[in-house]
């Protein structure tokens, strides 16, 4: 209705920020107080830091675990295979296809023929790299767990012998010979990113829908509520199975389907906040000043609803991650070959003789969800009005 007004006001505010009259991020005393409470919540504060470190590392997974080197020096020229794909012929090979740097032949071409060197990431496997020369049949053990018998059998059965040349798989390989560490690094990233995107999108939609319902009330509210009641009674899992049968689900399709149902989580909460707050006197005062509906919703009502929303968000995030994991576990999730924690769990179930698969998946998922819940608890405490306001007023 008054959208241009809002834009105009926001532009003005942005202009002021540029002039430096007002700091762009204004930390109100209440928010300062909240941050202090959050920091004093030791478990949550440390969880946040640990989680951030893990997340940032996993964001740069390509530089941590990859089957392509970071840098290659070949005949005095530098190549960065991690960013660009070079055919084998570039290094004096025969094939027009991309060079397989893990191939001893290619290695030799670069280091010996090209008089160069190769800078590898710490882990020389990507999530889909197969270990072509394992010490035992797949799934193979974590290298440091190999026993004497394993090594003897490796020589008998014609596998790679236990010598210095043997490549390390810190947590073993899965049943297709892919390095488990590499897969959990990529799997952690995709889980958290999926969770974050789903949480943010469903919060935005949920808050908007709840805000409109609560603010306008009446028929809008009534019709919307009935629609949500019907919508939430559609069985999600069946729908997913049906869709998975027709099209192969990828990251975005899964996100879309889950989003279609997860946005309702916040609607009730935000609606209630808006219903309560729209009768506040400062809202009436804003109307009397001539402010438009959307400005009032944005400036005066949304901050009220944000407390409830932010408190809920970590828990929605956890729920989203769990949903993706369970879909992957059942085989309706990300396409085959994707690095997914749920798939690793399923492999653990199928290979009980290889306990490192199940245990790894369990600990990664368990620790990730626990960290997020601890952060969530601290956020909830920080936003608890009794603590934030009560302590402030002293």
């Amino acid at each position: 209705m008054d959208a241009p007004t809002d834009v105009a006001i926001q532009e003005q505010e942005a202009a002021e920020a540029a002039e430096g009259n007002r700091p762009w991020v204004r930390v109100s005393p209440i928010n300062k107080r909240r941050w202090t409470i959050f920091k004093s919540h030791k478990r949550g504060y440390w969880s946040l830091w640990i989680f951030l470190v893990l997340f940032v590392i996993s964001l740069f997974a390509e530089f941590v675990a990859n089957d392509k080197p970071l840098l290659v020096d070949y005949q005095g020229e530098l190549y960065s295979p991690i960013f660009k794909s070079y055919p084998e012929t570039a290094f004096g090979g025969f094939f027009e296809t991309e060079a397989d740097y893990r191939d001893p032949a290619v290695k030799e071409m670069i280091e010996v023929d090209g008089d160069g060197w190769i800078l590898w990431p710490p882990i020389r496997f990507s999530y889909n790299t197969e270990n072509k020369d394992p010490p035992m049949a797949f799934p193979s053990k974590p290298t440091w767990l190999l026993t004497k018998e394993d090594c003897e059998r490796a020589i008998e059965d014609g596998f790679h012998p236990c010598n210095d040349e043997l490549e390390w798989n810190w947590l073993g390989t899965d049943d297709q010979g892919r390095d488990v560490v590499a897969r959990i690094i990529y799997g952690f990233r995709i889980s958290v990113l999926f969770g974050l995107v789903l949480t943010i999108l469903s919060s935005v939609i949920g808050v908007a829908a709840g805000a409109v319902q609560g603010y306008f009330g009446g028929w809008t509210d009534l019709l919307f509520q009935r629609f949500i009641e019907i919508w939430t009674s559609v069985p999600q899992l069946y729908l997913l199975i049906i869709v998975a049968a027709v099209i192969e689900p990828n990251f975005w399709i899964l996100l879309g389907i889950l989003l279609a149902f997860s946005w309702v989580a916040l609607v009730g909460l935000v609606r209630a906040e808006f219903l309560r707050a729209r009768n506040f006197e400062y809202v009436t005062a804003a109307k009397a000043l001539g402010l438009g509906n959307w400005t009032i919703m944005w400036k005066h009502l949304l901050p009220n609803a944000m407390v409830a929303t932010l408190t809920f968000m970590p828990f929605i995030l956890n729920g989203s991650i769990t949903t993706l994991t369970s879909l992957d576990f059942l085989g309706f999730g990300l396409p085959p070959g994707s690095p997914s924690l749920g798939e690793l769990l399923a492999q653990g179930k199928d290979n009980l003789h290889a306990p490192w698969l199940g245990l790894t998946a369990f600990f990664v998922i368990g620790i990730m969800l626990s960290l997020l819940i601890f952060i969530g608890e601290a956020v909830r405490d920080a936003f608890d009005p009794r603590k934030a306001y009560g302590a402030a007023e002293g």
């Binding site: 209705m1 008054d2 007004t5 105009a8 006001i9 003005q12 002021e16 002039e19 009259n21 007002r22 109100s28 005393p29 209440i30 506040f280 006197e281 400062y282 009436t284 005062a285 804003a286 109307k287 009397a288 000043l289 001539g290 402010l291 438009g292 509906n293 400005t295 400036k299 005066h300 901050p303 402030a392 007023e393 002293g394």
Partner: protein
């Protein structure tokens, strides 16, 4: 300690024998350096059958003092660094909890301010009143019911038999307060502590409740400790007065003496701060700013599956208003009379029927966008300065909000200059404009709310009980400020209030409303000096003399 055991004559002067003695009492909240000293070394006593009033403004520590008599403070957050409270020779502060419980509600009982929240909404009246007797006297069943009936009758509840099974929400505010009193009196207490017993009630009801308390005090021979900020109530009820400020008793003495010859500066200030003065003379030729004819705000009552309208709640029913330039129209009436609704309807904040004309333009049919240019010229100030300022915006953001919409072209500096000017006009230091509302007192917040309205330079201002949530001395300041602003900018006010003293000090003409209809309307002098209807007479008597005259004219 007075002579315990010597029988005094029943007609002996009140206060001859001490019932309760408070000596050197202090109350701290918190510990160590951050401790707040809420009450500092106060001493007073209450004799048998005597009424003592603790008077002070909010934050003076009067309620905390009263609550510490029965140790009802949130211990251990609260503590008593010094003092003793002797009741019949025993120190209540050192008594065991189990012994104290026998005194609470039996020998000493309390009435609280808010009748809406001090009764449990889930239990019937009978159950709540009988509970006190079951605990202390061990009577229940038929005997208890008989006593409850007797008590409800004594506190003046009509048809007590039918009321036994009522829940609190089925009673009016005045009736609830009567039930509270019945509960307090159930065990014939020796001392009744009444914490602002009438503050939350309408004037006419207030007068009735005070009369009731006076009658019961005579009948039951009990002493009373009255906590109030209302000097009128003190004058009517109390034998002796203790004036409190900042946790200290600054003056005490017999009521008459305090009112006639106050000694301490604060007492003088308090007595002088009742709203006084009269509005400036009205100019009969002043142009009309706002006019409404036969204004109606009807809320439909819908029933049944198809939500058909079966009737209307007539919040405002056919009211004519004329607001001339630079003058004040006072709207008075009890809660629920529709006065706030009238104000909102004139500003077109709720939909209404009937023409509303602003300076010759009809504004009653306009959409919200078409209304916007008019919004600049008509503003509103609300009752509760804690609810009307968004806690998340700084003062300058609150005040400049209107400018952002109404005066688009202004630069940030110009806006800041206007905000500063408006704040200066209402007596707020512009240097404090980047603080948040919670850092200001109630009176300062109300000034900020006025500044928010003034910054748009309106011609017409609706003041919806702007002084009701404030302490008396602050009330007088706000009234002075409003009068001053009116003179300077020739503002037209619609002043809505239930407090007739404040209305008397400001209004040129008066509208008396009841149940959405106008009872009486006319120039202020005529209405105040020579009221025509019984309702207006009862209202004036209740407000100025605290007399419950013409009880048939008002509802209970």
């Amino acid at each position: 300690m007075a002579t315990e055991g010597t029988k005094t004559n029943k007609d002996a002067t009140r206060g001859g024998e001490k019932l309760l003695t408070v000596k050197d009492l202090s109350v701290d909240f918190g510990k160590g350096g951050g401790a707040v000293h809420a009450v500092k070394n106060i001493s007073f006593d209450i004799g048998k059958k005597e009424t003592v009033a603790l008077v002070g403004e909010s934050g003076s520590g009067k309620t905390v003092s009263a609550l510490s008599i029965l140790r009802l403070l949130p211990y251990p957050a609260a503590s008593h660094p010094s003092g003793e409270i002797l009741y019949k020779g025993q120190d209540l502060l050192k008594m065991r909890q189990s012994d104290l419980r026998k005194i609470r509600g039996d020998e000493i009982s309390m009435i609280f301010q808010e009748p809406m929240t001090s009764l449990n909404p889930l239990h019937t009246i009978e159950k709540q009143v009988a509970e006190v007797m079951t605990i202390h006297q061990g009577i229940s069943g038929k005997a208890a019911q008989a006593r409850v009936l007797e008590l409800l009758d004594a506190v003046g509840i009509d048809n007590p038999k039918e009321r036994l099974n009522s829940y609190p929400h089925q009673l009016s505010g005045g009736q609830r307060q009567r039930v509270m009193i019945a509960m307090a009196l159930a065990n014939d207490p020796d001392l009744l502590i009444a914490d602002e017993p009438t503050t939350a009630l309408d004037v006419t009801i207030q007068a009735q409740i005070l009369d009731l308390l006076l009658r019961l005090r005579e009948k039951l021979d009990m002493a009373m400790l009255l906590i109030t900020h209302d000097l009128g109530v003190v004058r009517k009820m109390a034998d002796r007065v203790c004036v409190m400020t900042n946790g200290e008793i600054v003056e005490h003495g017999p009521t008459k003496q305090i009112f006639k010859a106050p000694k301490h500066a604060y007492t003088k200030h308090l007595l002088a701060s009742e709203p006084k003065g009269r509005p400036p003379k009205a100019n009969p030729d002043a142009p009309v700013i706002l006019e409404a004819d036969d204004l109606k705000v009807w809320f439909p009552i819908r029933r049944g599956f198809l939500r058909r309208t079966v009737g209307y709640i007539k919040a405002v029913d056919g009211v004519d208003v004329v607001v001339p330039d630079g003058q004040t129209v006072g709207v008075v009436g009890e809660s629920g009379s529709g006065k706030t609704t009238l104000g909102l309807a004139l500003l077109r904040l709720i939909s209404s029927e009937g023409p509303v004309v602003y300076l010759g333009d009809r504004i009653d049919g306009l959409e919200s966008k078409q209304m916007r240019p008019f919004r600049r010229q008509m503003q509103i100030v609300f009752q509760d300065p804690y609810g009307s300022l968004s806690p998340r915006l700084s003062v300058s953001q609150i005040v400049e909000e209107g400018l952002l919409v109404q005066k688009r072209g202004l630069s940030a500096e110009e806006r800041r200059a206007r905000v500063s000017k408006a704040l200066k006009e209402v007596g707020i230091d512009p240097a404090t404009q980047d603080r948040y509302p919670h850092e200001f007192s109630g009176g300062q917040r109300q000034r900020i709310a006025i500044a928010r309205a003034l910054v748009l330079e309106p011609k017409f201002l609706v003041l919806d009980e702007p002084t009701s949530a404030l302490d008396v001395s602050v009330q007088a300041q706000i009234v002075d400020l409003l009068r001053d602003l009116q003179k300077r900018y020739s503002l037209a006010y619609l002043f809505i209030s239930h407090d007739l003293k404040v209305v008397r000090a400001l209004a040129n003409s008066i509208i008396v409303m009841r149940d959405g209809k106008v009872v009486e309307q006319g120039p202020a002098d005529t209405v105040f000096e020579n009221p025509q209807t019984d309702y207006t007479k009862a209202l004036l008597a209740a407000a100025f003399e605290l007399e419950a005259t013409g009880a048939e004219a008002v509802s209970s």
